[in-house]
Amino acid sequence: MTEVSAQRRERGLRQRLTQPARRGEDSPLKRALIHAALITAAIIVLYPVLRVVSTSLRPDQAVTSTSLALIPEGATIDAYSRVIFETNFTNWVFNSLMVTFGVATLGLIFAAVSAYGFSRYKFRGRNSGLTFLFATQLIPGVMLLVPIFIIYVQAGLVNTYPGLMLAYAVTAIPFSIWILKGYYDTIPFDLEEAAKIDGCTEFQAFYRVLLPLSVPALAIVYLLNFLAAWGEYFFARILVGGNEALLTWPLGMARFQAQFSTQWADLSAAAIMVSVPIVFLFVYISKYLVSGLTLGGVKG
């Protein structure tokens, strides 16, 4: 006993802080520093967001405040009810929902089947097709907006929803095919071969074997397309901005800001209402996003 306690007394404070308590762990000092860094990062991330929440709860419409308190005095949710009941906010959100569901569905329809073709069959032009799909990711959206605008004006698709949906589908379809093909590639062909030996036709092998296995990927692609189209501003502004009734939520909020630029509480309330569902959705799928995004680019 005496030997052990003598050793312990020799270990100074400094050593206890910088050496790990157990093998393979971090020293207490290191752990404290890491937590400090992470807390700092978390504050930098959270502070602007919390300010918006607190502004939305203000009884007056002021954005200035001397107090840095997060729950303002006299906090009310009046701003929320004002935005919901006295503006077209609910319609804007509904419009956005319609368009994004439409785009996501379109993307899935086109991509689920074609990605299967790319993944399971070798044919002339497959590689050039894949290169083309990859190249489409290079093109900035604005670049396509110019001809799309002119073509849609001439086709009468401007200020209509089918026009906006098709415009979003332009980038959604190649992207979806690329992601799904990468996913199908990771599913071994053996399962479908087994099914075919048992008497399935090609289509049945696709429908009964591969599709059920790819439901998570299909869901992710659906959600990715959904999220991409949800907050999009520029295509919407150019293609439906002229029609008051068809505004999606970013356009509506921009319009609202232009008119009521000093009603900070209302603006903040609208911002919170739009963001919260998306944040929850996002946090839920963020686990799957990584694998989805690196598919097709990295092997193994």
Partner: protein
Amino acid sequence: MFDFEQAWIAFTDVASSLLIIVLAIVAMEAVLYLALMARKSERSTFIAAVLGPIAAAAAYLLLSLESITLDGLTSLPSDTWIALGVIAGAVVVLEAAIYFFRTRRRTTNARLALPAMLLAPAIAGVGILYVYPLLYELNLSFTKMSAINFVDPGLLGLTWEGTILEPFGAERDIFVGLDNYVNVFTRPILQQAGFWQIFLQTIIWTVVCIFFHVTLGVALALMLNRKMRGRTIYRAILILPWAIPVFISLQIWRTEFNFQFGAVNQLLGLIGIDPIPWMADPTWNFAAMIITNVWLGVPFMMVITLGGLQAISSDYYEAAEIDGASGRQQLTRITLPLLRPVLVPAVLLGVFLTFNNIMVPFFINQNSWESSEILVTALYRAAFEDNRFGFSAAFAFVIFLILLAFTLWYVRATNVLKGAYES
């Protein structure tokens, strides 16, 4: 509060266009099936033959409907019904022709048949939606089409004027050849800023942002990749900038960079720094853009790096520890090299997203400083604020070529696409 009528219109618009597209695909696939795969007396042949005309007719019907109500159905002009019949009949004739032609010629390449059918919708869709506008834009770049000259641009200088193919009437001579491309490089794109200035701004913007994205993202991921208390909470919080809709984040940051009320200047005041004119000064505006984009982009890199880190087996670290490697050695010899396959595509993606990021510079640049413009925002302004369509088409292709050149170089230098073709 909620305009139900408008909502119904929105819903039916979207639903009917989806339905039309699906029906068009069905019709196309039916015809293709007969052309490529059908056998003479199979049930599927019969189904395809019948389905084709029905789908085509239904699609046309939906297209001509003014509103999805019974009223809309009955108020169709009689021409529509005639046209319906014509279309259905045409599809039947087409199918019969294909079918007889095919059964006489025996076989088409059976191995191509199924991929062709699988890919046909995507090829048609991408062709119509993507390739056609691109070609249109190429053609556009050779004209001086603008808001004033809003006429049919013709095709490479040929117009329809005076021919039977005169849909919109090209009234003025707007073909200018390669002038637009020359002007992109030699004349100002915005009021004063020329191509090279904006290009340089874009490069600085991209490099600085990516630098911070990667360093901060990897650092945060390294910190999070261990058993620690509150790990899930940290991770959930740190994802927020990625999760919040970008439009909202930009409104937030715009407010926070406000000279008087913004949190940034208030916090700077707390530590004794004078308020910075984020919006009023061009240089500080550029810095504000970068700060905002770093805030937005770090979570993406962090999440990807975390995924990559978790794929690194702990055996490596254990072996290194036994061999006496220090923490830093483990980092540089094990972690970073093994992260490379994950980071390289992520950086490529990040470069693209940053280079083409139109939202951040557009919204943070409240006073429209030309020094805060990047290539894509300049393109947007040239096209839709100055309405110089021909010019911006040429500009767009120049940007595309830059991106293409970069990608080719990057892919070759890092071998990042090796996996995509092998699988």
